[in-house]
Symmetry: C2
Subunit: 230 residues, 2 copies
DNA sequence: CGCTCCGTTGAAGAGAATCAATGAGCGTGG
DNA sequence: CCACGCTCATTGATTCTCTTCAACGGAGCG
């Protein structure tokens, strides 16, 4: 399904997909992979574009290929609560059962592989190894969600901000932020002003640099980790 | 596996299990059900007893038959963060993948059906309908966890307490609380004093009664719901 | 009766939200 | 090229909620 250069036609390029190794389709090979790829549709999402809407009939599922998506629910006052992020190789949507409980929106320009439930389910019927991969991933996601929830409970604003930075940091020192301050606030349950102040405070203490609005440089990662948990 | 009267021996009593209709084993019938039941062990848990420990090798999974369990992680300062509850027919533990990220402890006297991974996985291999049920439940649980997370973000202490009461209320008016004030606080990310004060405030406004420490009577459920979301 | 555990209540303080203003980056258009 | 408007982020002053620290009360139990 991966088509980096072309939106249309041709044979499946799943074998070249950079997300495949860690995605649920990573368990497929050869013909199975080709068959599966043919069921899906590669789709590019511009930043801010929504893939699924909260409350809509959940008629499709997707694998994230590149970019970052947010899972969010809207409160009564128009306020948004972000309940999770989806990174490359992550699976979004529910293949069976009830409607999607949250909307899925691209935080940055992203690519996904979109599958209709109508063909995804039957494919699983014939490919138990992939259903197994899906079970494993679902439980891993559940664990991650709970870990995040634990991070949010009874921690100071500064600790939440620090933990979020660390959660988005891979091995490198410079973290690109896939979200605005407002979205960081919506994710952490804080206000935009508090997020800004805490970032400023961390920078003032020399733990981080803020080269521009969309990136953070971790100057003292160990100290940041200590601050996040203590 | 259900043995309400006897701890030991005899033939499986799964057919009489009150949780079966909604549990993942509900998709099994006849011989399959008997085979599955023979894999598991019925276990009673006294209030406070822990079924699985955080960080331990996740060598087993369980279905809840009766009672309520808490899923919790311990912070650095010995403080506990409860990240979820497991009610009858709920599934706890992860069948594959990494170790359990949180400990599972009985809030009240409970019964579970415990299955070793070593036999649970192979059984799933032969029973795709049950694996399907497991997938469906895992995604439903994920949705519930995110819904709860949304409830915790950017809501006042009063709203959190009200929402928790409503979440534990079934159709009846009187809600039995399966947890102490401390545990309510650990679940909501508040302090025990704040929980107590908010309950008192709700009672003072005539929305609830507090007949004793372990129960709440919903006097004006509609008003309570309005208060919880607004 | 005295003990402990749990819950409630009170007073003080800290932390985050709120309200309000300023500043930086960016695209548009003059 | 620079002025303008717009969005997003930062900063300040104030308010308010929740926490913290502390004392008290009631239920269960030896």
């Amino acid at each position: 399904m991966y088509r980096p250069s072309e939106e249309t036609g041709g044979k499946s390029q799943c074998t070249a997909c950079p997300a495949r190794a860690k995605a649920i389709c990573g368990v497929l090979t050869g013909d199975d992979l080709a068959t599966f790829g043919a069921l899906g549709r590669h789709r590019r999402l511009a930043r801010g574009q929504t893939l699924m809407w909260e409350g809509d009939a959940a008629d499709s599922v997707a694998n994230v290929i590149s970019g970052v998506l947010k899972l969010a629910t809207a409160g009564v006052g128009g306020d948004e609560q972000i309940v999770g992020l989806a990174w490359p190789a992550d699976f979004v949507g529910s293949p069976f059962g009830a409607a999607c409980g949250c909307s899925v929106t691209a935080l940055v320009d992203s690519e996904v592989c979109l599958f209709p439930r109508a063909t995804f389910g039957p494919f699983l019927d014939d490919h138990p190894e992939m259903e197994r991969a899906l079970v494993t991933r679902a439980f891993a996601d559940l664990d991650k969600a709970r870990e995040f929830q634990a991070m949010l409970g009874r921690r100071s604003a500064g600790q939440k901000v620090a933990a979020l930075l660390l959660a988005m940091a891979d091995t490198g020192d410079v973290v690109f932020l896939p979200m605005s301050r407002q979205e960081m606030a919506d994710l952490l349950g804080l206000t935009i002003e508090t997020v800004s102040r805490q970032l400023g405070r961390l920078a003032g203490q020399g733990l981080i640099d803020l080269p521009d609005r969309r990136s953070v440089r971790l100057r003292r990662r160990d100290a940041l980790e200590a601050f996040a948990v203590a």
